[in-house]
């Protein structure tokens, strides 16, 4: 190892050069916009950027005192919980089942991974068509069971629609990781447990689940980020945040205020708050949950 160290010390420029493309991408597409929105959060500006005025914390005050923001916060909390729990639970179930398949295992795995390759906007449209209140296939199927489906008007149904579409998207990603995690578990452990007389449930909860905890923890962090940011396209293509704001999450509200309402100061303040929220969430996850993870 020391030899390699000296090599790098002599060529101190090389590692930076190799890192440069990645650093440039992060700087241009993340740090620069983030710094810009941090600055704009303290200004009131007209849409065309013809004039701006420093207003201190007024934008934050405005956002935090608006009932609409807290409503969106509540929607986001419920939505995140449902999607993260649904996407991880289902993915784990499917991974356990796919892990046991003997014939055509690859086919199952490929099919279950597919939805991840579909762009969120397209996925949103697919579910929108299937659940269309007039023409949707699933709408007609539900009508047979006496369910009147109209996600354009029913807040609960609208939330269900975006939750289902988001779970369907994210499940594949989780599935890949859970399956890989399952295959890393030494068969000898499970065999030993079986010989000791442990049933499949005892084996799952006593051995498999604890050994999967690093994977599950990683996925929890990734799913939180997914739910908070990447579900935007799904919502924008299905419910537009409606009806009556029932599916307006924080990131959708930010988009509406910034790009439809052109309130740059207010939406910048919201994006700063959202960044803080993700930071705090990730911190909590690492600080408290990671302790329970067995690597």
């Amino acid at each position: 190892m020391p030899i390699k160290m000296t090599t790098f010390e002599r060529h101190s420029v090389t590692p930076w050069l190799l890192l440069a493309p990645q650093l440039a991408v992060v700087a241009i597409f993340f740090f620069w916009p983030a710094a810009e929105s941090l600055r704009q959060a303290f200004y009131v500006q007209d849409a065309f950027g013809l004039g701006e005025r420093f207003v201190g914390l007024a934008n934050f005050q405005h956002v935090l005192s608006s009932p609409g923001y807290w409503h969106a916060f509540g929607v986001t909390a419920l939505f995140s919980l449902l999607v993260a729990a649904g996407a991880m639970g289902l993915a784990l179930l499917l991974a356990v089942l796919a892990d046991r398949v003997l014939h055509g295992a690859r086919l199952y795995r490929v099919l279950l991974t597919w939805p991840y390759a579909v762009a969120p906007a397209v996925a949103g449209l697919l579910w929108l068509f299937m659940f269309d209140p007039v023409l949707g296939v699933l709408t007609h199927a539900l009508a047979v069971f006496g369910v009147h489906w109209d996600a354009q008007l029913d807040p609960g149904q609208a939330l269900a629609l975006v939750v289902i579409a988001s779970i369907w998207q994210q499940m594949s990603y989780n599935f890949v990781f859970f399956l890989a995690g399952l295959q890393m578990i030494p068969a000898s452990l499970l065999e030993a447990a079986a010989i000791d007389g442990a049933g499949p449930f005892r084996c799952f909860f006593g051995i498999t689940l604890p050994l999967l905890s690093p994977t599950a923890f990683f996925l929890l962090v990734m799913n939180s980020v997914y739910v908070l940011f990447e579900t935007f396209a799904t919502i924008d293509n299905t419910t537009l945040g409606g009806p009556g704001g029932a599916t307006r999450t924080l990131v959708y509200k930010l988009y509406e205020d910034g790009f439809v309402g052109r309130d740059l100061g207010g939406s910048s303040a919201q994006s700063v708050l959202l960044m803080l929220l993700v930071g705090v969430l990730t911190f909590i996850q690492f600080r408290y949950l990671e302790r329970r993870v067995a690597y």
């Binding site: 007209d46 013809l50 409606g242």
Partner: protein, 440 residues
């Protein structure tokens, strides 16, 4: 080696490109007309380009109205604004307040010595784009107004002979249609705020906002929630929703498909949807067009409706040569021949009196039943304070808020009074925010 071999070709190509660019000045026109409308826009530009050698108009489709406005603003901030951009009617206040970003059309025409007569436009069109000091700031292009489409087969089946003239009649007809089994649903609507609040207010001579709906000052505030007739209208629709006499069909134009599929027997939407509905109804059912109903208790004679659609704004930052070309092109666009052709093709109303007269002389309105409904409804009487249109900042956002609150009224989670009061309150917060942002 290879690159060196290529160099002469690159140089030649670059040279030839620059010479062709010198021959004619390019005028960029960003728009939001998709599909058949976009092709028509290209055809109009081609016609202009072929008519002279000095300028080349390049239309560029930038997505929805909202996308185009966002793109225009971003481009302006980057110093890359197009010469001409198409902005929907509710973006008018935003554009008007951006004084350093736009080149007012009246001024452009004056500076370039191009003939321009604002009185050539229909009053309802002219007033929408005229500033409070009487200057026309943008060039009207595509204007429409909401009308009532009805399924003639369903009407015949229910034994209804004439389309409803008032909302009370419409309510009776809608129930009759559903109860007789002639249709699963009576009425649906597209653009809920535009048809059921904005135009309901104008036609029944009720204020939508103070300060003549914003025309007299940027301190206007929404007051539609304080008009008993408006609140009662929304409450009626919410009641009808329970028995399918009315069905809310979603925001923007998504309600249209409930009519196109034959589910709902009536639809209120833009006159410019005529071609699309005709296409969808072909071989399925016959339909006709009637004026938007009025509230006989609020007004004895229905007043003019207000327009939707878009106008063309000229952006700052171009050379004088470009502006000369822009002026000529706008002049060409508003000529009776181009306007008459555009209106007959699309279902938008002809925006100048001359174009209207030309269509009439050609017999377009006798050949195309229903096509005259929009223009008649738009031009009846002289627009008063409640009928000139809306000039409210953050209007796209306000429309979203209204749609959201209407959804609460229609799904029964709030009464019409509660829903509209909240809509006005939240909308007013948007207006205050707009006022703050432009008074820098």
């Amino acid at each position: 080696m290879r690159l060196v071999q290529l160099l002469p070709f690159v140089a030649v190509t670059a040279l030839s490109l620059s010479t062709s660019a010198q021959a004619a000045t390019t005028i960029t026109w960003w728009h939001a007309m998709e599909g058949a409308l976009g092709e028509k826009v290209n055809a109009i530009a081609d016609e202009f380009n072929a008519s002279q050698d000095d300028y080349v108009v390049k239309p560029v489709y930038k997505g929805s109205y909202s996308d185009n406005l966002t793109a225009t603003i971003a481009a302006f901030r980057a110093g890359q604004a197009p010469a001409i951009t198409q902005v929907f009617e509710v973006g008018t206040a935003t554009m008007m307040s951006a004084k350093g970003a736009i080149y007012p059309v009246y001024q452009l025409m004056q500076d370039t010595g191009t003939p321009f007569d604002p009185d050539a436009f229909l009053p309802a069109v002219k007033s929408y784009y005229t500033s409070s000091d009487g200057h026309m700031l943008s060039m009207p292009f595509n204007s429409s107004t909401p009308v009532l489409y009805y399924n003639q087969d369903a009407f015949a089946k229910a034994g209804i002979e004439t389309p409803p003239r008032t909302w009370a009649e419409l309510g009776r007809d809608a129930h009759k249609l559903v109860e007789s089994g002639a249709a699963e649903c009576g009425l649906t609507t597209a653009w809920p705020s535009w048809t059921q609040l904005e135009n309901f207010s104008a036609i029944n001579d009720l204020p939508f906002a103070t300060q003549a709906n914003g025309f007299n000052g940027s301190d206007a505030r929404l007051v539609f929630d304080q008009q008993p007739a408006t609140v009662a209208h929304i409450q009626d629709l919410a009641e009808w929703q329970k028995s399918h006499a009315f069905e809310y069909g979603g925001r923007a134009d998504s309600g249209t498909k409930r009519f196109q599929s034959g589910r709902c027997a009536m639809l209120t939407t833009s006159s410019a949807s005529r071609a699309g509905i005709q296409e969808a109804a072909k071989g399925k059912f016959g339909f006709a067009i009637a004026p938007l109903p009025y509230d006989a208790e609020a007004v004895s004679q229905p007043r003019n409706s207000i327009i939707g659609g878009a106008s063309l704004w000229v952006m700052q930052g171009q050379s004088d040569t470009v502006y000369q070309g822009v002026a000529e092109f706008l002049n060409f666009l508003s000529s009776p021949a181009v306007q008459a052709d555009w209106a007959s093709f699309t279902g938008y109303v002809p925006i100048t009196t001359a174009a209207y007269e030309q269509l009439k002389a050609e017999g377009f309105y006798t050949k195309t039943p229903g096509a005259s409904v929009a223009i008649d409804q738009l031009t009846r009487g002289t627009p008063d304070d409640n009928g000139r249109g809306l000039r409210l900042g953050n209007m796209p956002q306000i429309r979203n808020i209204i749609a959201e609150q209407l959804e609460k009224a229609f799904n029964g989670s709030e009464t019409a009074t509660q829903a509209l009061t909240t809509a006005a309150k939240r909308g007013n917060a948007e207006l205050e925010q707009f006022e703050r942002s432009v008074s820098n």
